[in-house]
Symmetry: C2
């Protein structure tokens, strides 16, 4: 049960966005720009969603890891296997060497920003990562260290049914983050 | 030296805002609403800045802890002692019992959202904290777990001169977060 009185029928961060529209606006604007907009990053939306998924997985945030995992799957043309593999170990997943190096940086950021060192950055550059891509990877990982804490710090509802995450993933991958939230039937709660 | 090529003369997150205006916009909108706007929270701007300062201190983020400590000081009418005391131990600082209970929640969030339990929430309620105030404390702590990682994950410049932080603090406390950044003389870098 959530720690505060949140609107029923909306899982995870969506219940918080309904509860607090004044902070929902900049938070949705942030993820729209950071994850979804094809013109704001040279990383693909699928790559950016994988970084969000991996960070959320490291923070053991069930709602965010499952939601962004499902969005990543749809952004990657339905490839659920690569999403699962990234959550286990990005170094062994079928992703580009550049994305592996950025995942290493994301894992450092998840622990502490102070853990990122010049060798991590050099390794990413060797695989072709640009300043913008290093910037985006750090900010995505940092942003999900926020969302994961917001979602779990208030004990929001994380559905058990994989179909709920799949439906959210399909919606967000096609519509982005600025449309109305997916409402789950009350009977599923 | 920063991990990526950032504009000279701007410290900490301000150099990142200059580097990436597209993400700066929602991030500045977020802190304006969350920390500065007097109408969006029943916590005072000073109390909210103290939560940001304490979280940044726990994350050992020199730039954010010093900047928000200075903003908190100006928001609290110049009381530097209470800011220093909160950074050492909020339970022993001269702040309200309600704010102490919210600081305890912030410290849990800093570790992991999953660490906040029903006893932490009940203790805050016993001291008069409302749902909105618990929400705001969790989101402020979560937000600074993001900013601290963004600032340190890219190794931004954190000035040593306390006068720099004091000038930023004075500016942000009076102007909020949506005005142009404070530029430090190049010679101070």
């Amino acid at each position: 049960m959530p720690h505060i009185a949140l609107p029923a029928g909306f899982p995870g961060v969506r219940s918080l966005f309904m509860y607090s529209p004044v902070t929902a606006k900049p938070l949705n604007d942030l993820v729209q720009t950071l994850l979804h907009d094809p013109n704001t990053s040279t990383l693909t939306p699928g790559e950016r969603e994988l970084i969000a998924t991996y960070t959320s997985s490291l923070n053991e945030c069930k709602y965010c890891a499952n939601t962004h995992g499902a969005i990543a799957k749809y952004q990657l043309g339905g490839d659920a296997d690569v999403v699962k593999a990234v959550m286990v170990d990005p170094a062994a997943a079928e992703i580009t060497p550049k994305l592996k190096a950025l995942m290493n940086i994301a894992a450092k950021v998840q622990q502490s920003g102070r853990n990122v060192n010049s060798r991590d950055i050099a390794a990413a550059r060797e695989e072709g990562a640009t300043d913008n891509e290093i910037h985006d990877a750090v900010l995505i990982a940092a942003t999900f260290c926020m969302f994961n804490r917001y979602v779990d710090g208030l004990a929001t509802w994380a559905p058990d049914d994989p179909a709920v995450y799949d439906a959210i993933g399909k919606q967000r991958a096609s519509e982005g983050y600025l449309t109305q939230p997916f409402k789950v039937a009350q009977t599923q709660q």
